[in-house]
Symmetry: C2
Subunit: 335 residues, 2 copies
Amino acid sequence: MARNVTVADIAREAGVSMMTVSRVINQADGVSAATRQRVQQIVDRLNYSPSAIARSLATRHTGTIGLVVPDVSNPFFADVARGAEHLAYAEGYHVFLCNTEEDPQRELAVIHSLEENRVDGLVLFSRLAPGVLSNVLKHLPAAVLLNRRPTPQTGLPPVGLVRLNDTGGGQMVTQHLLNRGHRVIGFLAGPAASYSGRARAKGYQQALADIVSFRPEWKCHCAPTVEGGLAAARELILAQPKLTAIFCFNDLVAVGALQACTELGRRVPQDIAIAGYDDIPLAALVTPPLTTCRAPRYELGAQAVRLLLNRIEGCTEACEEVVFQPQLVIRASAP
Amino acid sequence: MARNVTVADIAREAGVSMMTVSRVINQADGVSAATRQRVQQIVDRLNYSPSAIARSLATRHTGTIGLVVPDVSNPFFADVARGAEHLAYAEGYHVFLCNTEEDPQRELAVIHSLEENRVDGLVLFSRLAPGVLSNVLKHLPAAVLLNRRPTPQTGLPPVGLVRLNDTGGGQMVTQHLLNRGHRVIGFLAGPAASYSGRARAKGYQQALADIVSFRPEWKCHCAPTVEGGLAAARELILAQPKLTAIFCFNDLVAVGALQACTELGRRVPQDIAIAGYDDIPLAALVTPPLTTCRAPRYELGAQAVRLLLNRIEGCTEACEEVVFQPQLVIRASAP
DNA sequence: CTGTTAGCGCGTTCAT
DNA sequence: ATGAACGCGCTAACAG
């Protein structure tokens, strides 16, 4: 790589000090219109590109934030990322998007390299164990947790919290199924490490508790993917012949469950009703379209960044929490 | 942000020079096992996190690459990104993932900030006009273009090229439709700025040329989304009553076309056959499942990064090109 | 309005 | 095996 043009080059060429050049490229005032224009011309002519690296070293902040998600190719996270990136960009920040691939080791590694890159803050969709997580948070300059609510007793460091009311969502979906007369309702719970999964499970069990008594064998964990849902639903349906409905961790799992029903010759919704969660675009496109619970994904991401930037630019002491309400969407898979 | 621990702190604490500390954290040799261990302990105890910023400034490379795509929430790009990120991570590189939102202005802005951040190289899914693009490429340290083939006469700077044989793919799909007796075949071409779209159009027209003469009114551009496909298909179907098949830019557009058919009371495939492109997971899940052309998305991303890292670490003079072959996948939407 | 000094935290190049 | 001096490119804090 040929040596880059630097402020020194510009300064020499323009016959001014480096500081003046710096003022021009940062649009700071304290420069006469004449010199400003002269310098700017040279900047343009030499195709000067200021080094964000050097600037960061000097200013001690980078204008970048990290976004850590399990998997961008999950439409839920893709939309969250889009919302986050859009807002960050509008505010002049850059986003380092990192996938953990649902691997805690990798999540830790990713967070560490983000720290080394001196991001100004981090938005985390974390699957780390509570103890590990709160330990990680201590060393972070600023952080916002998405869809996760640390237990207060862990000695929670101050973070921003943006989440969906998943307990409410889980309850709402389950209640809908109960209202329609279902009494044996399975639950495909997603990854054990998912906080959302646990919250939805709680809502599910709370709703059940009023009407029927929950049986542990109605519930099983699965990967949050179509394949995970297919495999888990297959087993669940065969193991629980009396099952008439399945509530799924998310829409991908629900699509897997639809496939399992097709495989096993169960009609949806006549034999088994299926409900998903998130209302990703796919949910409305499969046959039958999925009853689900709408999560404002883009807003979740955008709000997380907004909170983070507040914390970066302002005080970072308090814990703030923003809770979005999910919305029941009734379609043909569980009318 | 409290002042960070630096090599100087470690050095003082350990009673060695900064250089020795540097050697330890970079696992370079020239340090006795004893001192190495002593330093390492202090590093761990003080929770030292080396500054990638400072290191980059000193070494003049950052260990990061940029990946510029139109939209991560399009499953095609999400998978490309996943492949790219996975390989990059395995090779010790970081990825800056940036969305252009199909906006050339924004693409330029994004590329510039990536340059300012001194990425070691760039993978571009570019929608820039040829002249602008080749101009941009000149200033880049290393670059790989995805699904794009610059016209040689533009005075092409040396870049890596990774692409799908889209002309072949377009031809293959169209040929399949012709083989099944279709003679009036519409084409929803995607964004006018998409190189892939133009290549697929070329394949489509080549295949047609042998059998029927192509009519411009069979073809129209559209946004590469479900909504774009819905709107465009609605118009196309109404304007061309003799149409019996539609070849779509990608699977999202094809899903939109399916919806348009439902709306207008056309049965698929009996009244109108629909074919997509890419074979995203969604393609197999809609009703009827889509006939499409499989693009190895993950591999496309991974291969682009592989090529880029070669160029970063080795010579950057030659133009290399890797072409993947798409594969026809026949499903019920166009049997 | 403009320039000077002094780092930011690290790696490179030589010495020792 | 270890260290000292210098520089990477830029800006903060002053001076003028």
